[in-house]
Subunit: 161 residues, 2 copies
């Protein structure tokens, strides 16, 4: 059957995953962040099937993560460019990269070394931080008045998180 949709979930994590929670979307966004803009380039770099790429690009455009720009005088060349919403996925992509590097390191390859353009220095691990910038783990945080009910609506048959 069709996968469940989370678009009307009360949980913002579910709503976020509804837009970029599949196997390909964040990889497309990642490549866009590294400068890829053309259909064929995404296709060859990712090794994704053309119809799936079509579908994913259309969904990302629908969700305003990418915008499709007509370049070329007679309208048969396009570019897919990140929107601000798309660029805002940067911390998520980097956090995923760091998690992958930490827990599933590639056998023969050093992790990608991302640096600040201005200072040339390596970026920090992405972390949840308190107001003073101190890194926090999941155990260090709470939700005022939390009863998990806020994450788990009473209509448990239909809601998602």
């Amino acid at each position: 059957m069709a996968r469940k949709r989370f678009d009307d979930s009360t949980c913002s994590v579910a709503r976020a995953l509804n837009e970029v929670g599949d196997w390909w979307s964040l990889l497309i966004v990642l490549h866009a962040m590294h400068g890829t803009r053309r259909f064929v380039d995404f296709q060859q770099e990712l090794g994704i099937a053309r119809n799936i790429l079509c579908d994913r690009l259309a969904r990302l455009v629908d969700n305003e993560v990418l915008k499709k720009v007509d370049v070329g005088e007679h309208g048969s060349r396009f570019e897919y460019r990140l929107t601000e919403k798309g660029r805002d996925l940067f911390p998520i992509v980097i956090a995923l990269r760091q998690w992958g590097d930490k827990w599933n390191p590639a056998p023969d390859q050093a992790p990608l070394d991302l640096r600040d353009r201005e200072t040339g220095r390596t970026i920090l691990p992405v972390d949840v931080r308190d107001a003073d910038g101190k890194p926090l783990t999941v155990r260090d945080v709470f939700v005022p008045g939390d009863d998990i009910g806020q994450l788990n609506p009473s209509d448990s048959k239909k809601q998602t998180g």
Copy 2:
């Protein structure tokens, strides 16, 4: 056909997504972070089909994001608990939440207010930061010697990012 696997990709983002890049896994991890541990509780809170939940829990256990613990004297009660690897997904989950809150706010609901247990103060937005803690956008970073080749292996038909 079967979905492509990214487990042997040279890209750590692809390897990360191979483990938690589907629609459900991060929602399961999210609920685990809020204290859910039992099969039935995940099932009811998420509204996920039982067979899919089984499959996802097994995959998460295989990938050491969760561990399955036998509680109950005669071995018919289990708990699924986060491992350190699983807890390390915290920044990703929170970044997704913040992205969802920012770009797809729920019409009638305030975003979840996560606070530091110690100080009681609200957490900061998750960001990529330079060595001094200054937030960086995707445009502020570079990869030394970057030619995107590092993300896009030459064997472009089979690699993924």
